[in-house]
Amino acid sequence: MEPIIKIQGVHKYFGTLEALKGVNLEVQKGEVVVIIGPSGSGKSTMLRCINRLEEFDEGSIIVDGIPLDTAENINAVRTEVGMVFQQFNLFPHLSVLENVLLAQQIVRKRDRAEAEKVGMALLNKVGIPEKAKYFPGQLSGGQQQRVAIARALAMNPKIMLFDEPTSALDPEMIQEVLDVMVALAREGMTMVVVSHEMGFARACAHRAILMDAGQIIEEASPDVLFSHPTHERTKAFLSKVLH
């Protein structure tokens, strides 16, 4: 089957620093892939290349059959790919509900009633329908991140990208966000997750990938990668993270 995400030979430079050194990755529809690696290893950069928030200098990325080349194609891909950020990035001047409605209305061209139906259903799904009229600033970090997930899902994406979704959260709020992600994975959503949440990876991921210095070092099922890594760099990284 044709992979839904196909990354081929992608290089990315920040000035003279080569952040991605020829990355190849294929993700199948319905697959959950977790990417781990030390900071600065290029994992977030690679994730951000998938919806072209980050431009890449060489190589190609094809998402759901659409190559990321023209502005038109990039926008088409972005409507099919939801993204959740470390810093939530909710729109602070809009209520929770408006956060979830805006893109549905102006990008998907849904009318208000339909968008509201979708939006409220998703706020129910992430467990905070009662906060619909609040502003993001009145919510806890965990609640904000759940709204951010609902906002992305409102576009009915085929793929969800998570960029360290729990790294900015207080420890007691991590689980509520992970629960939403687990539910999403169980429903068969294609997910690419940059995260060091080993519990989530073991429970849901089909594949775990270790990146270091702009390259994919090792990939395997989470259990194999975490318990029996073959590569020295994987072992070194895991020994630091798992303590």
Partner: protein
């Protein structure tokens, strides 16, 4: 599925709305009232010269007001385009905008106004006679129009910097979140960045409005009969500089204080929970 948990407004939103309403007439209005009262007091208690003076400069007040309003509306629009151009990723667009801002900021406003009023029409007339274009040769622009152009062109440079700083103050993540949802750049600007930037922009924008209002006095140099010009006319005809310039100063003060209140009100409207 029911869509009803929306009915109960959070308490803090309701209370914020209440406070805003109570503060619509905050205590700074007392100052406006005091200055207005002082003007009225002078007019009633000492009609000669204050009443005559007021009646004489009245059309000047009106002219100052509409030069300010028209220029400012144009500055708001033109300044936004220059500000966005300054942030453009295209080098050429950014370069043109930057050169414009640097040139304008390097020339005194007074000189710019005189240039628009006298030099520019003369240039067009010269061009007309050089290339034999009759409509250019007889080019006599309306003085107020040129004054408004001069103020607009000059103030847009400053306003563009206000916009630029405001837009840059919004975190990059906001644009990324908007684009990741499939919004175009223009949609992201319109629905996400600008509405947030307005909050940051309003106070310095208010300063620009008040400075512009005061700088309309400069166009008296090109014979536009606005408030300052009318004051000078009255003062030289009646030899009463103290009374004249006291009244003119008070009338400017009424206008600037009102403008300050207007801006403060808009700032309150633009607030939201954070």
């Amino acid at each position: 599925m029911s869509i009803n948990p929306l009915s109960a407004l959070p308490a803090s939103v309701a209370s914020a709305a209440r406070t805003a309403k109570n503060e619509r007439f905050d205590r700074w209005w007392i100052m406006v009232a005091a200055v207005v009262a002082l003007v009225l007091l002078l007019i009633t208690l000492k009609p000669d010269p204050y009443k005559n003076l007021f009646l004489f400069v009245r059309d000047g007040v009106w002219r100052t007001t509409y030069i300010t309003i028209i220029s400012f509306v144009l500055v708001i629009v033109f300044g936004l385009f220059v500000g966005l151009a300054r942030l453009s990723k295209h080098k050429a667009i950014r370069g043109v905008a930057t050169v414009y801002v640097e040139i304008i900021r390097g020339i005194p406003m007074m000189v710019q106004i005189i240039y628009w009023a006298f030099a520019l029409p003369a240039i067009i007339q010269e061009m007309g006679s050089a290339w034999n274009i009759p409509s250019f040769m007889e080019y006599r622009p309306d003085g107020i129009v040129m004054a408004i152009f001069g103020l607009t062109f000059g103030y847009s440079a400053y306003m563009s910097e206000v916009y630029r700083a405001g837009i840059q103050s919004i975190s990059k993540g906001q644009m990324e979140a908007a684009r990741s949802l499939g919004m175009t750049y223009v949609q992201a600007m319109r629905y996400i960045i600008v509405p947030q930037a307005v909050r940051v922009i309003l106070p310095p924008m208010g300063n620009e409005l008040i400075t512009l209002l005061k700088d309309t006095a400069l166009v008296s140099a090109v014979a536009i009969p606005e408030l300052t010009r009318r004051g000078r006319e009255f003062s030289s005809a009646n030899f009463n500089p103290i009374e004249t310039w006291t009244m003119v100063a008070l009338l400017y003060l009424v206008m600037t204080l009102l403008a300050t209140r207007l801006v403060a009100y808009l700032e309150k409207m633009a607030r939201y929970e954070r």
